[in-house]
């Protein structure tokens, strides 16, 4: 086994036992990146020298017996919307082609304080808007098993980096499914924490009431280590919750765990191979002791509609800051209106422009009540629907996405078909709950993901169930 194929837990054991060094571990990842990244375009930039230097420092700390934390010496990848001081950050957009992060995102600072080795920044749909990583201004990322296919998105680069062992763990952001759907497509685990669990300070904002940073991992145990490292209340983000910190609580089986299959989600529009792979996973869960039942979860289609109103509204407000004045691209022309309009039209790609237009419309006079306010009211109903369902059962289970990885170009012509990719994942963002995509077999040789949703701030229960499944499947 190559070192870069290790899980974080395995690598930590070997590091602690002195069997391997962080430098060799990092070098193995860098070698893998060098051999595969040209074909896959997962990383937009690799910090070879700095990563090796950080790894050597970690080795020195370990030799002195004072490691900084459980991730000391572990090589990780960051999505290109997480600020890493002094490093370029583009959010996959031309408008930020030459932008340098002035400070560390809170999550990134915490990783550095624990001695993690940052390998580089990974490709993404522009400003995290997309489900395929085709909307990056820096070319698409390709699926590791079929270069004609997409890896999912928007955190496609991080998903591919982990799936191909270019790193031991990776981070993305999830606004409507941007961690979980690429995790499903690439056959890795992807976790969206509860809204408020992880600080968004230093994450380039897409839709602030829905965005959340989370990990890609090879196992539930690794996901727990990565979440533990970045979680917590932050004075720089008023929406971080004052809650008991996440602490893993592993269990031996699923006895007494009630899992609900939302009736409304298992209808039409799902690829047959996806359905059967996830049904097989359900049977495994049942064998492991889980009680399976059907539950009512209304407003599945409405959740997607709420998302495609609220998200563009927040996008149009958040991206107003990219006006060519204080940072990013400026195409100067007079009057100043022309500077704004030309800079933004040139700097933003078509999907970003589309969502800004949509949000501007929904927030404009005469439409605000009908779209934004009505969507916020339906959001209340959706939260109640999840609350009701999660009173009857502990976890909700669906496929992560209705299809496996699709072909490059297959869904770019019609934005609505791309949006439908999010049908099983957006509800969780709208309700603010934690959810995880877990690999559960394949359909026609492409990975399928099973989607588990838990109660707010119950990531420990969620990951415990995943770990039992991993060991029992």
């Amino acid at each position: 086994m190559q070192l870069n194929e290790l899980t974080i837990a395995e690598a930590r054991k070997k590091l602690d036992a002195g069997e391997i060094s962080a430098k060799d571990l990092t070098q193995a990842c860098l070698d893998q990146i060098r051999s595969l990244n040209g074909a896959l375009n997962a990383f937009l930039e690799v910090y070879t020298d700095e990563a090796l230097a950080a790894a050597k420092k970690s080795d020195a700390r370990r030799a002195d017996g004072n490691i900084l934390g459980p991730l000391d010496g572990i090589p990780l990848a960051l999505k290109d919307n997480l600020m890493d001081q002094g490093k370029r950050i583009t959010a996959g957009s031309k408008i930020l082609a030459n932008h340098i992060a002035a400070y560390d995102a809170t999550a990134v600072r915490k990783l550095k304080e624990q001695g993690a080795v940052i390998l580089g920044r990974t490709n993404m749909d522009e400003f995290a808007m997309g489900s395929s990583t085709e909307h990056s201004a820096y070319g698409p990322t390709r699926h590791p098993r079929d270069s004609e296919r997409v890896p999912g998105g928007s955190s496609g680069g991080s998903a591919v980096a982990l799936a191909t062992n270019m790193c031991l763990g990776a981070f993305g952001s999830d606004t409507g499914g941007s961690i979980r759907q690429p995790a499903a497509f690439c056959g890795v685990l992807g976790l969206k924490p509860t809204y408020g669990r992880v600080s968004r300070s230093g994450l380039i904002a897409m839709a602030s009431s829905l965005d959340q940073i989370g990990p890609f991992a090879k196992t539930a145990e690794d996901a727990a280590s990565l979440l533990s490292a970045i979680q917590g209340n932050d004075p720089a983000d008023q929406t971080t919750a004052q809650q008991e910190p996440f602490v893993p609580a592993w269990t031996e089986n699923l006895t007494g765990v009630k899992i609900g299959l939302p009736r409304q989600a298992w209808g039409e529009g799902m690829q047959e191979g996806v359905r059967s792979a996830v049904q097989t996973a359900v049977q495994v869960m049942e064998k492991l002791g889980a009680q399976i039942s059907e539950v009512d979860l209304p407003y599945v289609d409405e959740a997607l509609a709420v998302y495609y109103v609220l998200m563009p509204c927040e996008v149009s407000a958040n991206l107003a800051r990219f006006d060519g004045m204080r940072y990013g691209l400026r195409l100067e022309n007079l009057p100043i209106f022309e500077t704004y309009a030309k800079t933004r039209a040139t700097g933003f790609g078509p999907e970003v422009r589309r969502r800004i237009m949509l949000g501007t419309y929904a927030l404009s006079r005469g439409y605000y009540e009908a779209y934004y306010v009505q969507a916020k009211k339906v959001q209340t109903l959706i939260r109640r629907a999840y609350d009701n369902a999660l009173q009857k059962v502990d976890l909700l289970l669906t496929p992560t996405a209705p299809t496996t990885a699709f072909k490059i170009g297959e869904k770019t012509a019609d934005p609505l078909t791309m949006y439908l990719e999010d049908i099983f994942t957006v509800g969780v963002n709208v309700a603010g709950l934690p959810a995880v995509s877990v690999p559960c077999g394949t359909a026609e040789a492409l990975p399928v993901g099973m989607h588990l949703t838990g109660r707010a701030f119950c990531e420990a229960e969620l990951l415990a169930a995943v770990r039992v499944y991993e060991q029992g499947s």
Partner: protein, 100 residues
Amino acid sequence: MALSSEEVRQLADLARLELDENEVTAAEKDLDKILGFVDRLKKVETQGVEPASMPARTEWRQDIAQPVDELARETILANFPARSGDLLKAPGVFEKPKGK
């Protein structure tokens, strides 16, 4: 509900986006389709339902100016699209808005 090309142009102005004629036509088509999908929200009965609020804390933090490290300061200045010393250089703002 269908948007006219005039409405799309006005939206583009509000959003500060310069669109050519092809882009206006494409935007009309795309927005119609998406609005057609989200229009299902209008059918949901929401009488007496409160709009969802952010789960944010209600007290605000003090707005205290804090010193930044030199690297942060230098990076912020270096990110200016145009500068004059440590000042941000911007085009004149007292211009007539478009169409007025």
